[in-house]
């Protein structure tokens, strides 16, 4: 789903750029809690894996190709914030060294494949983990569910962005059906690969699976006489606090996606009308051309500016609001969590 240059109009590209920068900025701050000196190479390896996973391409209807995303897998292995960084790094390197994904579309690609897939994937992984038995093996079905749902969510977000600012006059209905259909299928493939990979890793090195933290039985050590001694409390005690926070943020971002869907429905009507009013479409096109020569000539917008701007504003406002809420929540929980062992 790598979007090339010129696919979306400038205002949408800029808006998604803002979303991407915000998300990566927040992720950098939060990833510090997930990444200690040992897990940085793990993040690099996860990024390499996501890279490899994304090379598996499937042809999709309407002429685009879909591929595995890897966001849910990354989130299960290194945690959601680091996963955002991992996938963003993959996308940056792909855009610069592999010409995959336009450089001006980097914001869009990061929003779709780093933010949406990780957010939706982790949200559902954490949700499933909250209700099933607390064992390391539980991360396997949990991450599979997350993976399954993350792919069509990204496809839906793609359709939303296209509806807001796509440089083409397509039937949004047909696009939605095509994208969602194929990406549900891809979601199954992604779920299978995620489940099998995570299960293999958690069986041998559960310390490498972030989602399995806090699920290991408490460590007991034996001294030389054979007597059992409790190990001193490790970082596991901090886990529950992070769990609720992640759910909050995940929920916030899901809300964002829904807001985008509402925008899409608002957009759908004019397109539907245009489509139905066959001959009159010619007149509408002519007017657009006139419009092109005047106001925002250099950007060649087609989709109708007021709706696009509204959609963009909505996205930015929601993200900003969500971030403010998030910061307020984290500041409060930081204060209340001061008594817990910190590092």
């Amino acid at each position: 789903m790598h979007v090339p240059d010129g696919f979306l109009d400038a205002s949408t590209s800029l808006a998604t750029g803002a979303v991407a920068v915000t998300a990566v900025g927040v992720a950098l701050r939060k990833a510090r809690d997930e990444l200690d000196e040992r897990t940085a190479p793990l993040a690099g390896l996860t990024a390499a894996f996501v890279f490899a996973v994304q090379m598996l391409n499937f042809p999709v209807g309407v002429g685009t190709s879909g591929h595995l995303m890897g966001g849910a897998l990354a989130a299960a292995l290194v945690g959601p914030w680091t996963a955002v960084l991992c996938v963003s790094v993959v996308l940056i390197v792909q855009a610069l060294l592999f010409a995959d994904g336009g450089l001006t579309a980097l914001g869009t690609n990061i929003t779709l494949m780093a933010v949406v897939t990780v957010a939706v994937g982790w949200f559902f992984t954490a949700a499933v983990l909250a209700v099933v038995a607390r064992r390391p093996a539980s991360v396997v079905p949990a991450s599979a569910v997350g993976a399954l749902l993350s792919v069509p969510a990204a496809a839906l977000a793609f359709v939303v962005l296209f509806a807001i600012g796509g440089e083409a006059n397509l039937s949004i209905g047909a696009l939605t059906v095509g994208m969602l259909g194929w990406h549900l299928l891809i979601g199954f493939g992604e779920a299978v690969i995620t489940a099998l990979t995570v299960s293999a890793v958690v069986a041998v090195r559960p310390d490498l699976v972030h989602a399995a933290r806090g699920l290991r039985p408490a460590l007991r050590l034996k001294d030389a006489d054979g007597a059992l001694v409790d190990a001193p409390a490790g970082r596991e005690t901090v886990q529950p606090r992070h769990g609720t926070r992640n759910l909050l943020v995940g929920g916030g971002i899901v809300a964002l996606c829904l807001a985008g869907v509402v925008t899409f429905f608002a957009n759908g009507n004019p397109d539907g009308l245009e489509y139905v009013a066959g001959e009159q479409g010619f007149l509408v096109t002519a007017r657009d051309h006139l419009f092109d020569d005047q106001a925002l000539a250099d950007y060649g917008e087609v989709g109708g500016i007021p709706v696009g701007v509204a959609g963009v504003l909505g996205v930015v406002l929601t993200v900003g609001l969500g971030w403010l809420v998030f910061r307020a929540v984290s500041r409060r929980s930081d204060r209340s969590g001061a008594g817990v062992q910190s590092h």
Binding site: V204, P206, R216, L221, D223
Partner: protein, 269 residues
Amino acid sequence: MAVTPSLDVRGLAYAYPDGHQALFGVDLVVERGERVALLGPNGAGKTTLVLHLNGILAGGAGTVRVGGLEVREHDRDTLREIRRRVGIVFQDPDDQLFMPTVRDDVAFGPANLGLRGPELDARVDAALQAVGMAGVADRPPHHLSFGQRRRVAVATVLAMEPDVLVLDEPTSNLDPASRRELAEVLESIDVTLLVVTHDLPYALELCERSIVLSGGTIVADGPTPDVLADAAMLREHRLELPYGFDPRSVPGRQTGYGGGRSTRTAARR
């Protein structure tokens, strides 16, 4: 003696994430200037113990002190200082040589400590000189022979001017001449030495004190000739002397580098 010991390990116990417990309570004190051999069968926990000495592994029970400084898991500043003080040369030199040239590799450590420019170059040259590898500074490490890579790996650690040098199986896969050259290098440097090895004659040659680690605890600790002469103990812990080697037939080492004499008698636990 009121001098702080170089290494002070008390009650160290550790289990790996997959549940396997490797250390079951280790007590060890190494004084400044001592040269100690760490012996034991495969799986005894020797490498696990060694990785605790510079904070790579932590989070189990017990304490580790390096020159009085306690190793704490997430204390970045202390860890940096401890990693300057304790230099570990790992078993596989290819794990340690990851830069394009030998010079870059030797410079990596001191550069991380903040050295730059002529001071850095001087440190690199001195380290390479000490291991006799000054001539290969601008070559890529994978073009060197195994023995040369071993010595360069030692140089990468020496460049940080550690107080304690730990070597994990330094003689494995070395031909006899390289083995001797390495021994000469180690003789000439003024550090506290801890050598993990299966090479019992080497231990006798280099180290005046030997410790046997088996099953996660220390089972013997004393002057090397005495430890090696205890055939029953050696057999119990899967250690064997090479064919025809009699530890009593050679003088062995009596003192550490700085003159610190080992006063311990052979102790069995």
